[in-house]
Amino acid sequence: MHIAEGYLPPLHALAWTAVAAPFVVHGARAVVRQVREEPETRLLLGAAGAFTFVLSALKLPSVTGSSSHPTGTGLGAILFRPPVMALLGTIVLTFQALLLAHGGITTLGANAFSMAVVGPWVAYAVYALVRRIGGGLSVAVFLAAALADLATYCTTAVQLALAHSDAASGVAGALAEFLAIFAVTQIPLAVSEGLLTVLVVRLLTRVSPAELARLGVRPARQEV
């Protein structure tokens, strides 16, 4: 989902930066508040950031014959709510833009919006919804992480389609093409990300149940 450096026209790059910036600033304040008010959750905050760091470095092959990477933003969004991930996700993207020429500075706003804003909010909404209708912790975490991953890639496809509409078929035609590149490839990877996130949450409920409960993540009794 990294839009390469210079591949969004200046106006689009500027617009996406303007859209993403408030979320990231708000996220930075949320991280500071989290550390100040609940310092005992710092370890889990580190785990959430580290999880995104690992997963977005993994390029996994997909059944479509191309490869892509998970995003890892679902875990932090579930544990700490989405604003925290707006900052952590953007830090990861900045690292990749500056050191790896993966993504870019001009496209950082668009990439941050898809991975650090849309993904986490989708994760949180799906998690809250599944829990409210009585779904178990693992089911909620799986669906939240997988759909957040997929939503991130669909957002990238929309961003590219808006910037590079097809000469013959317009934005809709370009969207179909970019969705074929990003979303279809991503389906098995989204499942992988869902499984990995469930694994980490299971391990955390085992080693760190008090902190998870404080963050409002409680497994049903039979799941412990």
Partner: protein
């Protein structure tokens, strides 16, 4: 093996299979990155990128830096689990009786 560990290993197995099956059945493709495929698609139009990366590592260096990124993340995750596990173990152990 407890049910807890069994489920965890099945989750790991699922992830490994999802990565391995494409390699086995689609071994004639290059598994080009989706990001790169999108770039190729845009290059076919008359669009030309207007900004180049400030620093671009060679392919070899880039794979090392990706490995570094994964290692940093993995290291921090491992540290967190280690600390949390030790803390929990110490909390469970009854205090030593006074001598």
């Amino acid at each position: 093996m407890s049910r807890f560990s069994l489920v965890n290993w099945l989750l790991v197995l699922g992830v490994v299979l999802l990565a391995a099956v494409p390699i086995v059945i689609g071994s004639d493709t290059e598994f080009a990155g989706a990001d790169g495929v999108a770039v190729e698609r845009i290059d076919e139009t008359d669009y030309r990128p207007w900004f180049a990366p400030l620093f671009e590592p060679s392919a070899e260096t880039a794979s090392g830096l990706f490995a570094l990124q994964a290692a940093i993340g993995g290291g921090v995750l491992g540290y967190v689990f280690g600390v949390a596990r030790t803390r929990r173990r110490n909390a469970r152990r009854p205090a030593d009786p006074p001598a």
